[in-house]
Subunit: 205 residues, 2 copies
DNA sequence: AGATAAAAATGAATACACTCATTTTTGTTG
DNA sequence: CAACAAAAATGAGTGTATTCATTTTTATCT
């Protein structure tokens, strides 16, 4: 790892960026995303309104900035939780249980993020999202791979498509949960049901 | 079907609502969602700005209103297209091909909708979305049911969860397509791959 | 019909995201 | 260090979604 050469200018920028993200996080959690104004964030971070827009092209971009850091940790935590279980289905449920818990801790924020993720326009943001998705897929693929060596999953099963299938089910139901179509209990049960179905396959007699 | 007793008042409201939705549809298609102002729509519909907000609590709600009508037709069309094919996987691909085509016709609009669907706050809108989802699930369940009688799908497979699994894969990849992570070709291939995987099951050797 | 109440419509006023011409800070060169 | 150029920061200005006190329309009485 080459240590980045941080000029005073870049150091200041990074520090400022950190203050803005921290301020955004605090206000989003306290007042909610909608009720938080850019002015709020600017004041708390000790910068002007215009400066905030130098670091985030739109208010919603702040969501991605806030979540990117946090989510990376949550995904790791989810993977560790999964490893404590034996069967693949239990592992997957444990994995997404951690992620769902995280979202449940701050529903308004999770809802705002969910919307933002519906369509990401900015290339920079897209990279950040892709990175998080990859982090999820990688962990899921590792769980499936391990299940293969245990004989739970057939050797021919394609890792990445399987991981995406699994994530797709989780994601759809997470949306249902966040929008209030279903409660957390039903969410948990439906997700498990889908994982079992995917493992068995529709074709099975 | 009991004909609704339409008082003059309700008649006017319905007509006005129709004008607003038509105006919104036209402007969204022509200028795009963002660039369309409520004033545009109000002028074209021959009402005031305030009146538009009487029929849609927020600008984004107009998206749901516009799509609800259109989508109902598209889903029917998708189902009819599916019936022209023999195997379940081909049927599913044909089904979602029609829906994806519809979205592809107006990408900016589809993207705006995708975001809106990320979290639906209003109860009325939620009902509209639920109705569309049910329409999808019902058709998919019918296809699976038919596949059961052909022996393609095991008798024990739960219809609705299977339909949701199928839709979840489609929906995740549609998001990827609309956001520009993948192109249409890749979208088609990935969706098919997922359907095959779901049919076979991960457990299969 | 005229009077009255309820519903619907109005558009000026408000609040806030976002822009951009100007100013300030930082880095570089002689 | 002074002078200059490039980068960053600023905040008043702009446009538009949304609100709400007021006005207009519709329905229901006597």
């Amino acid at each position: 790892m080459a240590q980045a050469p941080l000029s005073r200018r870049d150091q200041n920028k990074l520090e400022k960026r950190g203050r803005i993200i921290a301020a955004a996080r605090a206000f989003f959690a306290q007042k909610g995303f909608e009720a938080t104004t850019i002015q709020d964030i600017a004041d708390a971070a000790g910068v002007s309104v215009g400066t905030v827009f130098l670091y985030a092209k739109a208010k919603e971009d702040l969501l991605i900035l806030v979540f990117h850091d946090e989510m990376t940790g949550v995904i790791d935590q989810a993977y560790r939780a999964a490893l404590k279980h034996a069967g693949l289905v239990d592992q997957l449920c444990a994995f997404f249980d951690v992620e769902a818990d995280y979202h449940e801790r701050d529903l308004p924020l999770a809802r705002a993020l969910m919307r933002k993720l519906g369509y990401v326009d900015n290339a920079e943001q897209r990279d950040a999202v892709t990175e998080l998705m990859s982090a999820n897929y990688t962990r899921l693929a590792m769980l499936i791979e391990a299940a293969k060596t245990r004989g739970e999953v057939g050797a021919a099963a394609p890792l990445l498509p399987a991981a995406r299938s699994i994530f797709a089910c989780y994601y759809l139901h997470l949306g249902g949960f966040l929008s209030g179509y279903i409660d957390r209990d039903r969410f948990d049960r439906m997700v498990r049901e889908h994982f079992e179905l995917l493992l068995k396959g529709l074709g099975a007699g």
